[in-house]
């Protein structure tokens, strides 16, 4: 009797638990008011945001030359400890791409990792960084993407083993790792450093490669920008870009800005690997943005 009531209680707790999990971790849509009153997108700023984020690096076809860089047909497979991700087609094609998406749907994907069918998106799409972006930048980027050509290429689905193929589990991941709080608190930051913080922590999503990850794939924020193993596995290491050991403490702010513009380190070593595409995008930004990134990197804690 007593055992049975205990079992019932346990079962009830289990059901409540699963219900609570589902409720807490369900994909959350934004309020539609957030996307009203933004006005016509500023396409030039949208293009700038596109460079900040380096969208083409993952979403343009593998090996797309300069002329096809803006055809976002779906990109090269991204290997990870959780399986292989296939960046989708985000061209303006209404069927294969995101041409039919509303601004709110686009914003929910960018800031909340929620897909058009209300499903959780995988954080290989770095919305955990983009969550810091302003609605204005989202609106402008949305407008800019619509000006790019359509591709009817259908990107393959992600190739993930159990249990990582279960999207509902991403709710728990988001509960742990998705927020729009600053990655570091910088006392007395001026407008330039704040701009750099926005670019690095938000659209630039620098921490996604330069910060080590936990076993669950979240960012180890206590080691912010301290360098990390190659996210795709294999040889190589993503460098420490703080002033800590092995980092860039010896670089002046001018050195950092110059590196982002030209691809050359202070001793004329050159940019390599995946950073080449990033650096080319940074070179497209106004000089003030590169200087802001440099000022922020000089201000963050050394690791």
């Amino acid at each position: 009797m007593k055992l049975r009531s205990l079992a019932t209680a346990a079962l009830l707790a289990g059901v409540v638990g699963i219900g609570a999990f589902a409720w807490i971790t369900a994909p959350a849509r934004s309020a539609s008011e957030s996307w009203q009153g933004l006005g016509e997108p500023d396409i030039a700023n949208g293009e700038r945001v596109f460079s900040e984020g380096g969208c083409a690096s993952c979403h343009a076809a593998p090996g797309a030359g300069e002329e096809n860089r803006l055809v976002l047909a779906g990109g090269a497979p991204l290997k990870s400890p959780f399986g292989t991700f296939h960046p989708p087609n985000i061209s303006s094609d209404p069927e294969a791409g995101i041409g039919a998406w509303t601004l709110q749907e686009f914003g929910d994907a960018m800031l909340g990792g929620v897909g058009r069918r209300g499903e959780h998106l995988y954080p290989s799409f770095p919305y955990a960084s983009y969550a810091r972006m302003t609605p204005r930048d989202i609106n402008d980027l949305y407008g800019y993407l619509r000006t790019l050509s359509a591709s009817d290429n259908v990107a393959p689905p992600h190739d993930l083993p159990f249990p990582f193929n279960l999207r509902p589990l991403l709710g728990a991941w988001k509960f742990l790792y998705l927020n729009d709080a600053p990655r570091v608190t910088l006392a007395g930051a001026d407008a330039k450093i704040e701009r750099g913080q926005y670019l690095v922590e938000g659209p630039g999503h620098c921490g996604e490669c330069h910060t080590p990850r936990t076993t669950l794939g979240g960012l180890e924020t206590a080691q912010w920008l301290a360098g990390a193993p190659n996210p795709e596995g294999g040889p190589g290491r993503v460098p420490n870009i703080t002033a800590g050991e092995g980092g860039i403490g010896g670089w002046s702010a001018g050195d950092i800005a110059s590196y982002l513009e030209t691809g050359f380190t202070p001793d004329y070593d050159s940019v390599g690997g995946a950073m080449v595409a990033v650096q080319k995008n940074m070179a497209r930004l106004p000089a003030a943005d590169r200087e802001a990134i440099a000022a922020y990197l000089k201000a963050i804690p050394a690791h």
Partner: protein, 149 residues
């Protein structure tokens, strides 16, 4: 007797040459790293002049461009099978997968350096204009063929 001495000497020389040859062949990683450092130093010298941090010096410009040209001609041959790892190499396995493209990228660097060398930039502005196309080759090749450690 004399013949024997000559033979012995020849033998010794051959042995020494072979030993040196082996010693060099053991460390292509070090050789190619030195070559890239030479190119980096040359780019630094040219960029110093281009930015006006160093005064224009025709000899520095000529030697720097010649170094880059020279390295580009033999650099891709420093990656024989068996040197994929070791000596903290930053070489990507892709070098051995696409040797033709790797050679072509180095040849392009040589072509651009030779073009600049033929014209020999005569002042600060000309140096700045010349190093743009040359510098692009660094990233273009390193994007695919170099792994950052």
């Amino acid at each position: 007797m004399n013949l024997k001495t000559i033979a012995a000497a020849t033998f010794l020389c051959l042995g020494a040459a072979a030993a040196t040859g082996v010693a060099v062949a053991q460390e292509p990683q070090a050789a190619r790293q030195q070559m890239m450092k030479d190119v980096g130093r040359s780019m630094g010298a040219l960029a110093g002049i281009a930015k006006g941090e160093k005064p224009y010096d025709a000899e520095v410009v000529r030697v720097s461009l010649a170094t880059i040209s020279e390295v580009s001609k033999t650099f891709p041959d420093q990656f024989p099978a068996g040197t994929e790892t070791g000596a903290e190499t930053e070489a990507s396995p892709k070098i051995w997968e696409n040797p033709d493209d790797f050679h072509a990228k180095s040849a392009q660097l040589g072509k651009d350096a030779d073009a600049a060398l033929a014209a020999l930039p005569g002042d600060q502005a000309a140096v700045a204009a010349a190093i743009g196309p040359i510098g692009k080759n660094c990233g273009a090749c390193h994007e695919t063929y170099r792994i950052k450690k």
